[in-house]
Symmetry: C2
Subunit: 158 residues, 2 copies
Amino acid sequence: MTEPSVLPLPAALQSLQRHFSQMPPVLAMQIVAEDFQHGVLRLRAPLSANLNDKNNAFGGSLASLMTLASWSWLTLQLQLAGHRADVYVADSQLRYLAPVYEDLVACAAPVEPGGWDVFLATFRQRGKARIAMAAQVALHSGQVAASFTGRFAAMAKG
Amino acid sequence: MTEPSVLPLPAALQSLQRHFSQMPPVLAMQIVAEDFQHGVLRLRAPLSANLNDKNNAFGGSLASLMTLASWSWLTLQLQLAGHRADVYVADSQLRYLAPVYEDLVACAAPVEPGGWDVFLATFRQRGKARIAMAAQVALHSGQVAASFTGRFAAMAKG
């Protein structure tokens, strides 16, 4: 068995962005993989591409961004760990707390601090695993505008 | 107090479609207000504009379509009843049950059969009201691919 080749972070973020560019709705929302620090992934999208009828952020764009941030966290971590996998969202719960009149910024991480270690051990053993993710869209002021929890599954490729 | 002017259905569907055309992410997903019959609103979007990295429907597009279908149901009904209101999504729960390899078709209606009557009476009395909505994306075969419940609020305009 060969040791999986581990990608450095900037290459993994670029690979994520290439994924985005191949998904038409993500491309239309102009979503950017901005940063991954201290175990938190941050995505950003301009308000202009994500407006609703009230000139603030469309609820579907907020849902998409938080779902994608969670999906991306898991995809990125699997890649950084040297694994190839398909990642799926299984379910989600969302709360819309305040209208967003600025660029949409979503951060995602696992619900449980030790969630990733458990997930990775299971994935390595069985070739598939599940994890609970949390994401939120926070305003520049710090106020949380929308929150998300969801369960994701990954299955090893090939 | 003047009696609200009531729109006929085709004009209300067209008005809904005009709303869609003013929302960039909805326009990008190419969502069409297709039908409203027996209290159920149907929206449709082509798969090509809503693909993910696995060549099936992006979870965010499914979330957007079901959220928008529910929002549209309420917006349409309020318009048909002669009212002008802003409609907001407050929260939602989603389940992703099967991948979608065909055009996305979402249907929406209130969770409770009598939900609209209660909602309308409250809205007329207080100028605002809440309602629980349900939506789903069903495949051509009849299989449910994604399901949604969510609470929506409306506030009278002007």
